[in-house]
Amino acid sequence: MRNTVLSALLLVMALWGGPALAVNPDEMLDDPALEQRARDLSAEIRCVVCQNQSIDDSNAQLAKDLRLLVRERLQEGDSDQEVLDYLVERYGEFVLMKPRFAPHTWLLWAGGPLILLVGAAVIFIGLRRRRKQISEGLVPPPLSAKEKQELEDLFKEE
């Protein structure tokens, strides 16, 4: 019996007093175009108290506040960039899901492309060196089509 009461209590607490789940209908703007902008923008803003969630996905109170703030700014005519700048000013760069391209993130953004270039260069140089070795007779050249055919024939005879 005690257990039932406890459960009921928990249910009441959790379902009525609990946090709202992500975007709620009462937060939404009437203008669908503006609302879509708010949604797209929200996906790029981190809920700073959450674990790797955008404010669009999060059900934390702070995320809700930020969602309302974003919509408020948009209604006042801010551009997307202005909204982001405003949030960075208040919460730091941590709030951006896509970090800015600045000296402290150069390596982050350039890391992948750099590896691609280095890898391509290594492959290219390796191929050229191989070809040079072949032309200088350091390594036997690959079989010609005729030689290959002869080899195949030899195997067939076996």
Binding site: A14, L15, P25, N52, L108
Partner: protein
């Protein structure tokens, strides 16, 4: 008593692993038969001992033995049986124990299934495996011991994190760990080859089955985790670029590269040094993943351990193994002889490009995952790296990979004829165009990018299947002869086709759901109906009910199409009794490959219910694709004695040669 037996067995296993780390390698270097011979029995003994330890802990969970600290913290007597079992690895200590269990299982498998290996290689491999298991057994025994008792046992446990009380997450860790840990064997093989200083195509043949097994399980584990996140987290996302996901995705990417470069090594004796490097890299990334998830350096659902001492311990293991293996590599790799030559346009060339892009993609994920951690540690600056970054840096790298796949499948070894292959692919290209336009039209698409995405996906799909058509040539030899050829095709051809087909299906699912999913968020009153994507969805009622260890509020929705009732859907919200934590359970309706996804929000003051309805077109293809890929891997595994994936003009003699070449290995 049983707990103490488990504890004792664990310590014995630690001792066995120490012996295994020293003598077999020493013996391999000095050609001492007796020292090399201790490796297999030790590997088997370690497996039995750790199995006893694991069974003892499982017993404590099943009997709800609340004198064991680990059980108190992660179990509850009301918990359903399956979650009592999965609770064993649903916590830090237990999951590391499972990690070690799988590690020593692989060691035992090597000792059992590799009698045909040269004794030196086998001993050195098991020795290197001993280093890994020693490091992790020290970690378990000294800083993550699950067998500690408490002086005054409580009446009841604190229950498992409700998020983990789900069938998906019950089997996700074991799958993932088999993948992660399986690469340790490949790592040990690479270390052994470097120590012995000899490597050849036969090495690749021995390693391939282990790469395949690990890759198949890692694929399944990642797909499982993704599907779990999709239906459990309640907002219908299936991939979040969360560091924990990236931790498993990085070894998957390099593992995929390894799978392909090992084929080149086996078939053509080329790319040897690179393949060794990939083997070391893949397991290093598995260790990195273990570090990220287990050390608590990330704050995320998976990182339960908040004790920094443990984090430092795993970081130590990580640095010793990565640093050590790279040092051995730098020292010994120059001794390895370069093998076969090939022209830039050839199957080898295509696989080199595949490796280049997969490795770069890994680097992009690596930078995105670790950069914020390193930056914060070095400068104190906090930045976030989220999905927009990864979509921008990772996505474009996949486009060339997908475009190249059908070509790579058909190009000949050594020197390929690109124009000839293009001609052979003409029909597949035509089919791709038709399918792309049909789907784009069907989706009502003005979306050019999505249409291009469809095109790339279909290109991979038809290209993958085309190889089979190209080999049996029904249009030239007639259907009956073609069927005969079809049956006679080497299994590896099907493996490649299915592997690539799976990639195409996953890509198609990703493109479609990214471009055309819809989300409807609204407050519904009982009896109210809303149309979403051609369905009418009626909210009927809500009620409360009790589960075994939770209470829940369930909502009933009726799904109609053209006035006909086609399904009833029951999303719910739960509160777990012991922890008081709320969870949402989404309701799914699958139609073809698409899904309707309903997630329940709060009740409003006027008796309404906040409802989220998503239409997810073709979303199940994402996971079906992963299943198809795994099936391809499985088929390749069943056929490992045959030559892999090469179009050979004289297949009979090629097979005969393969047999001749593999004789010494048997």
């Amino acid at each position: 008593m049983i707990i103490e037996i488990g504890h004792y067995a664990l310590v014995l296993a630690l001792v066995a692993s120490l012996v295994q780390s020293v003598f077999p390698v020493w013996g391999a270097l000095r050609h001492d038969q007796r020292m090399m011979a201790v490796a297999p029995p030790l590997a088997n003994a370690q497996f039995v001992l750790v199995l006893i330890a694991f069974a003892a802990l499982t017993h404590a969970y099943l009997t709800s033995d609340f004198s064991v600290l680990n059980v108190i913290e992660n179990s509850h007597s009301d918990k359903p049986l399956i979650y009592k079992i999965s609770g064993v690895w649903g916590n830090h200590e237990g999951s590391i124990l499972l990690w070690v269990l799988i590690l020593v299982l692989f060691g035992a498998l090597v000792s059992m299934f590799s009698r045909n290996l040269p004794q030196q290689l086998r001993a050195a491999t098991l020795g290197a495996q001993g280093w890994v298991s020693f490091a992790f057994l020290v970690f378990v025994v000294f800083s993550s011991n699950p067998f500690l008792r408490v002086a005054q046992p409580p009446m009841e446990g604190r229950d498992l994190n409700p998020m983990l009380q789900d069938i998906g997450l019950a089997i996700h860790p074991p799958l993932l760990y088999v993948g992660y840990v399986g690469f340790s064997i490949v790592f040990s093989f690479a270390i052994a080859a470097l120590i012995i200083g000899r490597i050849d195509a036969a090495w690749a043949r021995w390693v391939r089955p282990w790469v395949l097994v690990s890759w198949v399980f890692l694929t399944l584990g990642i797909a499982m985790g993704s599907y779990w996140a999709y239906y459990e987290l309640g907002w219908g996302g299936w991939w979040f670029w969360d560091p924990v996901e990236n931790a498993s995705f990085m070894p998957w990417l390099t593992g995929t590269a390894l799978l392909h470069s090992a084929i080149v090594m086996e078939k053509r004796d080329a790319l040897k040094v690179w393949t060794i490097f990939l083997a070391l890299l893949t397991f290093s990334l598995s260790l990195l993943g273990t570090f990220l998830v287990r050390s608590g350096v990330l704050t995320s659902v998976h990182a339960f351990a908040v004790d920094p001492e443990r984090g430092l311990f795993i970081l130590g293991i990580l640095m010793v193994f990565v640093g050590g293996s790279l040092s051995i590599f730098a020292w010994r790799a120059p001794l390895l002889k370069q093998g076969g030559l090939f022209a830039p346009v050839s199957r080898e060339g295509a696989l080199v490009l595949n490796n280049l892009f997969l490795t770069t993609a890994t680097a992009a994920v690596f930078f995105g995952t670790l950069y914020p951690l390193v930056l914060e540690a070095m400068t104190g600056e906090k930045i976030s790296v989220g999905p927009p970054f990864f979509n921008l840096t990772f996505g474009p790298l996949m486009v060339p990979v997908l475009l190249m796949m059908p070509f790579g499948q058909l190009l000949a070894w050594k020197r390929g004829d690109l124009w000839g292959v293009t001609q052979r692919l003409a029909l597949a290209f035509g089919m791709t165009l038709v399918a792309m336009m049909l789907l784009a039209w069907f989706m009502g698409g003005q979306n050019i990018l999505a249409a291009l995405g469809f095109g790339i996906s279909f290109w991979v799909i038809f290209g993958a299947l085309w190889e089979i058509v190209d080999r049996i040539k029904p249009h030239k030899v007639g259907w009956s002869k073609a069927m005969h050829r079809f049956v006679g095709l080497p299994r590896t051809v099907f493996a490649t086709a299915l592997g690539h087909l799976g990639v195409g299906l996953t890509a198609l699912g990703i493109v479609t759901v990214s471009a055309y999913e819809t989300e409807t968020v609204l407050t519904m009153q009982p009896g109210q109906t809303r149309d979403v994507a051609g369905y009418s969805i009626t909210y009927d009622r809500t009620w409360d009910q009790r589960g075994p260890n939770f209470v829940e509020r369930v909502a009933e929705f009726t799904l109609r199409q053209d006035g006909m009732v086609i399904d009833s859907m029951y999303p719910s919200k739960r509160v777990y009794n012991a922890s008081g934590r709320p969870m949402t359970e989404a309701a799914l309706h699958t139609e073809g490959f698409s899904q309707i996804y309903i997630s329940m929000g709060d009740n409003t003051a006027d008796g309404g219910l906040v409802t989220r309805v998503y239409y997810k077109p073709l979303i199940t293809l994402i996971w079906i694709g992963a299943l198809v890929m795994s099936l391809g891997g499985l088929i390749a595994l069943l056929d490992r004695k045959l030559h892999v994936g090469a179009p050979q003009p004289a297949r009979k003699s090629a097979t005969a040669r393969a047999r001749a070449a593999s004789t010494p290995a048997e």
